[in-house]
Each structure stands twice: as C-alpha cells, then as structure tokens.
C-alpha cells in the first residue's frame, strides 16, 4: 500500500502583530510546530483537535494555500512546497468558507467549480447532476446557497468539492451544522469514492464522535504539534484501563462529605459537572460513595462510560475544552 501524503517537519510561524490603539499586540505563534504525518492510500485520515490547534493552518499548507516556513509536503510523489500550484490538480478541497459561492444556485456552484477543475461543459453538467442526486440536493438545485440553512449550504459546498474527481480529498470540517441525514449522505459519498476509486481523504474535525466512527487513523493536534497518531481504537487502548465517571451535582458539590472532597483533586470541574477518569475499582468506590449517604442528596445525575477519544486527548495532555461530542 503506497503512501499518498508525506509531511515532514512542517513549521509555520505567524509573525508577532504590533499592538494598535485599542488592540493589544500578539506575540509570534507557531501554528504548526514540526508536524510529520504519513497518509496511506484509501485511508480516511483525521486531524483532531480544538480550535486553534493548528488543523486549518496545516491543511492550508497541504493544499498549497500557504507556504510553510520549513519542512516538506509530498502528495502522490509531487513536492507541493516547491510546486504549490500542483495541489489543485491533485486535491479536491472543501474549505470552511463559502463566500465565493454564496450568491450562486446550488447547481451553478457545482457546475462552475467543475468547469474550473478543467471539465468540459458537458462533463461538468453530467457530473453535477450525478453528485446533486447522490447527495439528495436535486430538489434545491435552483436555490441560491445564501438562502439555504447552514447545513444545506455546507452540503452544497461539499457537492461542489466532489465535481471533477481528484485522488485526494481534503475536507475541513465538512459536516458542520448538518443534520444526521446530510451527514450520512456525506459519509456515504466519501465511502463510495474510496471503494470505487481508492480516493484518500484527509479530514479536519473537532467532533470526537465523528472521529471515532468514520476515521481509519487520526492524528491528535495540540498547539501545532501531533501529540498522538493511531487508529481510534489504538488510541483508546492507551487509556483502556480507565473508566470515565461523570457526576452532575444539583447545586454544588457537597465538599463536607470527605469522600467527595477526596475526589475533587482528580476531577475536571465545569460548573455543576465533574468528569473523572479512574481505575475500575476506584470508579466503583467513587460511585458507591456518591450514591449512598449524604452525597446522594446533592447528586443530580451520574454516568459511567468507557473512555472516548476526548479522554485520550485529555490523557495525552490536551487542554480541557474545545472538542465537540455530537
């Protein structure tokens, strides 16, 4: 199995911004800090991390939109740092912004994008019709993107990204704002292209559940660095010995109960909610403590669960917030 995308020691630093009146200056930020990745052919490879982890900056360097300060990017044997203009002939890209397409109808957005990918008018129209039908967009093909809901607009942009096939797809948070039906359409379309044409997908997400269900492998990003890279189940094994305990208190935690006070040190608090990662016997003891006696009166709800990618992320030293579970 060949490697489609090779990234080595990629570094990009945003220069420090001088403060203006009313706007404080910012120091220089290393948005990607020595990132190395290998993406294999036919894989759905994920970049997971909270906002500001450097996912989009990394993707912009892979798609030739941004020059790295140093490092190498090779896609299907082409050096994209030296020849960034080749990226558009290898990669289908779905960015986060739709402003270039907003005032077009769904059909024209897809057709125009196809033509700008080098398709002839006839082929562009045929592919447009196929993709719109595949994604269930035929009924709203005549409506401008601007007038659609966020999820439908996103799906229309995804359709545009598929017209004019490419061996590599780079999708930056493709399912933002979509309902479950639209999400399923997206993953079915991705799967079909992978099965029929061996298309490789690089997916940016901050949605943990999505990452667990659709990704073959995932790189976890934190402050511009890859802190882990494995299959979702492989990553979860790192914290397999742990159980996730979530406690929700009615008003506040009853810290006068000694067992609860002892748990506080290992809990991550957010308002009334405590999240703990404990060894199984510790978890059992903790649940017994809070469900019996004085603490129970203050308890609103509790759950026990096997760890998710979010727990992996936290265990690896990621900052607490910014990942979505939905």
């Amino acid at each position: 199995m060949s490697t489609v995308c090779v990234v080595r020691d990629l570094v990009k630093t945003y220069p420090a911004a001088r403060g203006r009146r009313g706007v404080p200056g910012t120091s220089a930020v290393r948005a990607t800090d020595g990132v190395s990745l290998d993406v294999r052919r036919g894989e759905i490879f994920g970049l997971l991390g909270p906002n500001g982890a450097g996912k989009s900056t990394l993707v912009r360097q892979l798609t030739g939109l941004m020059r790295p300060d140093s490092g190498d990017v090779e896609v299907l044997g082409h050096d994209l740092v030296r020849h960034p203009e080749r990226a558009s002939r290898l990669i289908g890209y779905l960015g986060q912004e739709s402003t270039a397409l907003d005032e077009l109808t769904v059909a024209l957005a897809a057709e125009t994008t196809g033509r700008l990918r080098g398709l002839s008018l006839r082929v562009a129209r045929a592919e447009r019709d196929d993709v719109l039908a595949e994604l269930g967009l035929t009924e709203i093909a005549g409506r401008p993107l601007k007038k659609l809901s966020g999820g439908q607009r996103r799906l229309a942009c995804f359709a545009a990204a598929l017209v004019g096939e490419r061996p590599v797809l780079v999708l930056d948070e493709p399912t933002t704002g979509m309902d479950p039906v639209a999400r399923r359409a997206v993953w079915a379309a991705v799967d079909r292209r992978r099965a029929e044409h061996g298309v490789t997908v690089l997916l940016v997400t901050h949605n943990v559940i999505e990452a667990e269900t659709v990704l073959d492998r995932v790189a976890v990003l934190e402050r511009g660095r890859v802190i882990a890279c494995d299959t979702p189940s492989g990553l979860k094994e790192e914290v397999a010995g742990e159980v996730r305990v979530e406690l929700v208190w009615r008003e506040r935690a009853p810290l006068d109960v000694p067992e609860v006070a002892a748990l506080r040190d290992s809990a991550q608090e957010s308002g009334r909610r405590w999240v703990l990662r404990l060894a199984p016997d510790e978890a059992r003891a903790a649940v017994a403590a809070v469900t019996g006696g004085a603490a129970f009166a203050a308890l609103d709800d509790f759950t026990l669960a096997t760890p998710s990618l979010e727990d992996v992320y936290l265990a690896l030293g990621g900052r607490a917030k910014g990942l979505v579970k939905a």
């Binding site: 990226a87 990669i91 912004e97 402003t99 033509r115 700008l116 992978r194 073959d216």
Partner: protein, 278 residues
C-alpha cells in the same frame, strides 16, 4: 512496510481503481488537467452574471437613478453647448464607475477578507480567468444603466442621438479600465474597509471630475482629471455629440481607456496571485 488499515482494503476496492490511481513505483501520479483560460473565463463570467439576479439589480437601479438625477440637477446650471455634452457623457460613464470600479472593489475586498479567494486558489484555474471573468461581468452589468442614462440625457439636453452607437466601444473600454482599477484596488487593499473606501473615492472622483465641465475646474484638479481613466471615456462620448465628430481624437481617447484597461487588469491579476497564496 506499513500495516494497511483493514477498511482500506475491504473487498470493495476494485482492481480497476488500483490501475487508475496507483502510480508506477516511485513515479509521481499524473496531474489532472488545468482549466484552460477561455472556458474558465466563460464559466466565471457566467457565474458572476448570475449573481446579478440575486444581488446586483437593485444597485443597478440606484446607479442609473443617481446619474439621471445628476443630469436633472445640472439642467438648472448648464444650458446647452459643450457643458451639456460633458454632463451627459460624465453621467453615463458614472454608471460604469459606480458598478465596475466601486462595486467590484467591494466585491474583491470582501472575497479576500472572508477567505473566499481560497475557493478559486484551490482550483487549477488561471488567475487571469478569475479577474477577467469578474471584471467582464461587472462591466456587463453597466450596459443597461449606461445606455438608459445616455439616451435620457440626450433627450433632456436636446443632443443628437445619431452617434450614440459609440457606446458599443465606450462601455467595454472604459469598463475594462475601471473594472481593472476596481479589481486591483479591492485585491491590494490590506483591509476590506479600505477596499470599500477606495472604491467609493474612485467613484466620487469619477463623478466630480467627469460630470463637472473641464474648463470650470481649477488647474491642479484639471491634472487629476487627466489622470483618471474614466475621463477618456467621458471625452470620447462627449465628442460624438458633435454633428461631425473628430473621430481620430475619439479613437485616441478610447485607446487610452484600452491601454489603462490592459495595465490595470494585469496589475489586478498579479494582485490576485499575491492575495491567493498568503
């Protein structure tokens, strides 16, 4: 040798796919073809033109009413002759300046600020196709408004309609010059607000320097008038209101517009390249 993810080699991966996308050992994969200039220009032009239905028609009405209103106002000040010609020609070209310079500068400024240029930058499309397609579409939006203004003005000031066919050359050439300028301003301005401001200023200059008769302007402002590309469109149109226009001079004015158009569109294309890869 790397371990293959199980999903990637599930039975559904066809052998056909292996031969299509799999490069020979070590050799780079074939690149998809580039989009050629003319077809992609046509595609951008058509897409931009379709935006008119959604976003531009109200603004076109504003542009036309503004010009007609100015002519009605100026009727109290100007009574026939050279000055009337200048007013009608200036108001007509003002429609071009409003749409091609002002609105296009705003459009590109907004596209650049919002990251919309990424869409084009990740497609294998020649930069010139994007700039020329958008500029051409915006210049086309001005056709009805300019024609209506020119005819209405000629009737209002009792000027001959005989040579108004020259609009066929005036609109595309001054359109090219002003749209190129607008696109370059929009793409070069470091911030979106500045792009809007520059577009507005450019249009105000076209209004003041184009509509007010030249011999009433003080010296230095007269020079500024000579620097503004719309002036040459205005002069070409104004000259054709004569019974026997001086065609070589008209042709020279239009040639200046064409030259400015070529230069400003080249600058805009360069600015697009620069803005697309940050």
């Amino acid at each position: 040798m790397s371990i293959v993810p199980a999903e990637a080699v599930s039975g559904r991966v066809s052998t056909a796919a292996e031969t299509v996308n799999e490069p020979a050992d070590g050799a780079p994969a074939p690149l998809a073809p580039r989009a050629r200039l003319l077809p992609s220009l046509a595609a951008v032009y058509r897409a931009q033109l379709s935006r008119a239905r959604v976003a531009r028609i109200p603004l076109l009405f504003v542009a036309t009413f503004q010009s007609v209103g100015i002519m009605i106002l100026m009727r109290g000040v100007v009574d026939g002759g050279d000055e009337a010609r200048a007013v009608v020609a200036g108001s007509s070209v003002l429609v071009v300046a409003f749409v091609a310079l002002n609105l296009l500068a705003q459009y590109f400024g907004q596209l650049r600020a919002s990251g919309g240029l990424d869409h084009y930058a990740t497609l294998p499309v020649p930069p010139a196709a994007v700039v020329l397609g958008a500029a051409g579409a915006y210049a086309s939006f001005t056709v009805p408004g300019t024609a209506v203004t020119a005819v209405a003005g000629s009737v209002l000031f009792q000027l001959p309609l005989t040579h108004l066919w020259v609009l066929v050359a005036v609109i595309p050439l001054s359109g090219a010059a002003l749209a190129g300028l607008g696109a370059a301003l929009g793409l070069l301005a470091p911030r979106q607000e500045l792009a809007t401001l520059l577009g507005q200023l450019g249009m105000s200059a076209a209004l003041l320097l184009g509509v007010l008769p030249a011999d009433r302007l003080p010296g230095p402002i007269g020079y500024a008038r000579d620097l503004l590309p719309s002036t040459y469109g205005v002069e070409a149109l104004a000259r054709t209101f004569d019974a026997r226009p001086d065609w070589p001079v008209v042709a020279f004015d239009l040639a200046v517009c064409a030259a400015v158009g070529v230069c400003s569109l080249a600058v805009a294309t360069w600015a697009y390249r620069r803005a697309a890869v940050r």
